[in-house]
């Protein structure tokens, strides 16, 4: 199902004849680099990642198996113009997501106004009842959003998913850049690449900006489920780089509505918790009673306004697939503008017309359960067997409200180092959007995932996916990156 006509991030639609404007020097670099040298650097990169122990599941659930994800040294490049349009779209979308969350846990105007069907919010298992009526500090719920995008043409970007819970993968963005600076320093002379190394500081500022107002010299911590978690590397990496403590639930205690961290010098009051554990495990008094990862009383401290949780509990509903299909309406409702970033066309099978279309075109569509994540239970029509398709046909008829369908997109490609030389491979992109008390910011970069198997559209690390550095070119004419 490799689309021969897929848009290439370096060559556009020229099939290797002419680099896209602004990327000529990258094409020349690639042409001039002897294959043996490219090979040597690729090996060096792999060795470096192995010795660093950069492991974790990049996307989706944090519980996935731990592995070292292959890194490809040929970067994926966005021009300044492309990036500024993307960044505007991302920031608009994230502003809408935060307004939406503030509304549905507050006055629920969007439901009263009938802009979206009330039941997709209220009857949604992701609607966090303990958060109903709770105002997030400074009005921010989703402080960190990892918006998954794919590209199908020069100006065609599509949002696949809005990860508004605890999106991971940002340490890859930073480690990949480190590796590129070391292995291909000349690239940063011929291309004016925006630096990404300010991300930990931006994240730290974002966290501390949402501290409760009464906190004078706010203390932030990163709450991890522990070293068994597959994203533990990222947790410790970020805590280190932000200069904040990495803690587990047992290191924190709530007394009289205030969170304290146990230290050898005695208890220290905590104002902001960047939590990398799911809502369900945050507080056994309110959520899962069997959770040992969280902190009893944490929700009471949060609801009393004595501690800020990042992302705020309840944010997960914003990336639910049923809600996703209404994002254009949500963006219009809260911003009064047309969405700058588009959703992938989505057929909500709960609607009879959409169900009919889906059943009639099953072999061309991707069918997903509305409450699934991590690619579980997804059928990719063009790759599905007859039997799989019949199973989904039956499931769709039995429980249509449980599914959405989308077209199979021809994801863009990027030249990639393979065993048989450089060849195009499909990619997606996850930028990280930060929202603090003083606004929305996007670090100029992100994580590019690449499907290393020829023709594959599946970029998941569990299915042979790797990563690449993502260069954002700066607007200036100079080349002294």
């Amino acid at each position: 199902m490799a689309a021969p006509t897929a848009f290439d991030e370096l060559w556009g639609t020229s099939r290797g004849r002419k680099a896209r404007p602004g990327l000529e020097s990258l094409a020349a670099w690639l042409a001039d680099l002897p294959p043996a040298e490219l090979d040597r650097r690729q090996q060096a990169a792999e060795a470096a990642f192995r010795s660093l122990g950069v492991t974790f599941a990049v996307y989706g659930e944090e519980e996935s198996a731990e592995r070292i994800i292959p890194f490809d040294i040929i970067p994926r490049v966005f021009t300044a113009r492309e990036w500024s349009a993307l960044a505007e779209g991302l920031e608009q979308r994230v502003r809408a997501i935060n307004a939406f969350l503030g509304d549905i846990y507050g006055p629920r105007r969007i439901l009263a106004d009938g802009a979206i069907p009330p039941d997709i919010v209220l009857a949604n298992s992701q609607f966090c009842i303990p958060c109903a009526g709770a105002r997030a500090p400074h009005g921010v719920f989703a402080h960190i959003c990892g918006i998954d995008l794919v590209r199908t043409g020069a100006d065609e970007f599509w949002v696949l998913e809005d990860n508004a819970r605890t999106p991971s993968g940002v340490s890859y963005m930073l480690e990949n850049r480190e590796a590129m600076l070391r292995l291909c320093p000349e690239l940063f002379e011929i291309l004016d690449v925006a630096p990404v190394d300010s991300y930990p500081e931006m994240l730290r500022e974002t966290l501390l900006s949402v501290a409760p107002d009464k906190a004078k010299d706010p203390v932030g911590v990163l709450l991890t489920p522990g070293h068994h978690n597959s994203a533990y590397y990222e947790h410790s990496f970020l805590a280190d780089n932000m200069g904040i403590e990495l803690v587990e639930g047992r290191d924190l205690v709530v007394d009289d509505g205030v969170v304290f961290m146990r230290t050898i010098d005695g208890p220290v009051r905590v104002d902001v918790i960047y939590r990398r554990i799911d809502d369900a495990f945050l507080d056994p008094l309110v959520f899962r009673p069997d959770s040992l990862l969280g902190v009893p009383g944490l929700m009471a401290a949060y609801l009393a306004g004595n501690v800020s949780l990042v992302n705020a509990p309840g944010s997960g509903i914003a990336d639910d697939k049923a809600i996703y299909s209404y994002m254009p309406e949500i963006v219009r409702y809260y911003t009064g503008e047309e969405p700058k970033l588009h959703n992938v066309e989505t057929w909500r099978c709960r609607e009879p017309q959409a169900l009919k279309y889906t059943l009639d075109n099953l072999e061309q569509l991707v069918v997903k359960p509305v409450d699934g994540s991590g690619g579980y239970g997804v059928m990719v029509g063009p790759a599905a067997t007859r039997a799989e398709m019949e199973t989904f046909r039956a499931a769709l008829k039995a429980e249509p409200h449980h599914y959405i369908a989308q077209p199979t997109l021809a994801l863009s490609t990027v030249p990639t180092f393979t065993e048989r030389g450089i060849a195009p491979r499909h990619v997606d992109f996850r930028p990280f959007v930060l929202t603090g008390a003083n606004g929305v910011r996007t670090v100029p970069g992100g994580l590019t995932r690449v499907a290393l198997r020829e023709g594959s559209l599946v970029v998941n690390s569990s299915q042979g996916g790797g990563t690449k550095d993502s260069f954002i070119l700066e607007g200036g004419a100079g080349g002294d990156g």
């Binding site: 039941d119 209220l122 009857a123 009842i129 303990p130 009893p296 009383g297």
Partner: protein
């Protein structure tokens, strides 16, 4: 009726815990048919109590004890004026929209046994209200009250398959069936005045509320097969027992725990009652 409630929850620990934290849902609200005259929550040791409200609108207390204690007793004393509203629950000061109560939970997930009752309920009556009445009556008839077999972790499906349980199990089955029929429904914890003279009870009571278009929330006590009346004091609600239980707690250390609950619900002085009904 004017009901007075004395409710004690006493913990005894084999070793003093270093720290105790509890979330209490022990304070009823005033609404149509229920007027809270006075209500006090007391703790018998050096503890801090902080009032709040949860997402359902239940009044809560957070209880913090930060030094070792051998025992902890929480006592509630209050009096409430009640009217028989035939189960109608109107005028709650804080509430969530009904569709929130359509989702199932681990304790109220339908399985084959719940499905069978759901089907029988649909067969036995038409219309939401009649079905709910039939459901409450059928559970009262078919499920046997037994305090020895189920625990706080027993699900609706387990209790239903076993055919017996306590008020909590009756409420869970009622809710599971109602939700299976697409009717928003929720768990309610509270107290019951026993007209048979058994004023001292070993636990609080629990029942269910279901949403009936045109009527609103309507309370059914499937253990007794009736709609609630002026013998009921409604305290807290939630998706299931875990959201509405009087106490959710955690402690550091403390070895084994012995829990003793005593609830006394009685009718206050005749004279006060006469006044209230005048």
């Amino acid at each position: 009726m004017r009901l007075s409630v004395h409710y004690t929850t006493a913990y005894h620990y084999s070793e003093p815990p270093r720290r105790i934290i509890q979330l209490l849902r022990m304070v009823p609200a005033t609404f149509a048919g229920q007027t809270v005259l006075d209500w006090r929550v007391n703790v018998d040791c050096d503890a801090r109590l902080r009032k709040a409200r949860d997402g359902y609108g239940n009044a809560t207390h957070m209880l913090y004890v930060d030094r070792p204690v051998e025992s902890l007793a929480i006592s509630v004393e209050g009096s409430v004026l009640t009217d028989d509203k035939a189960g109608l629950v109107q005028g709650l000061p804080h509430d969530l929209p009904p569709p929130v109560f359509l989702r199932s939970t681990p304790l109220t997930k339908a399985g084959p046994a719940v499905e069978r009752i759901a089907e029988a309920t649909v067969q036995s009556a038409a219309g939401t209200l009649d079905r709910l009445h039939a459901l409450a009556a059928n559970l009262h008839r078919d499920i046997r009250f037994d305090t020895e077999v189920t625990s706080i972790d027993t699900s609706a499906e387990q209790a239903c398959a076993a055919g017996h349980g306590v008020c909590q199990d009756f409420a869970h089955i009622f809710i599971a069936v109602a939700r299976r029929l697409g009717i928003p429904s929720r768990y309610v914890s509270g107290h019951l005045f026993r007209r048979d003279g058994r004023h001292v009870q070993e636990a609080g009571h629990a029942w269910g509320e279901a949403w009936v278009d045109d009527l609103g929330w309507t309370a059914f006590d499937p253990l007794n097969g009736i709609c609630t009346d002026d013998a009921y004091v409604r305290v807290a609600c939630g998706l299931d027992y875990r959201d509405a239980a009087p106490v959710a707690g955690a402690r550091s250390g403390g070895g084994d725990e012995e829990l003793r609950v005593e609830v006394r619900v009685s009718e206050a002085a005749r004279q006060a009652q006469a006044q209230s009904q005048s």
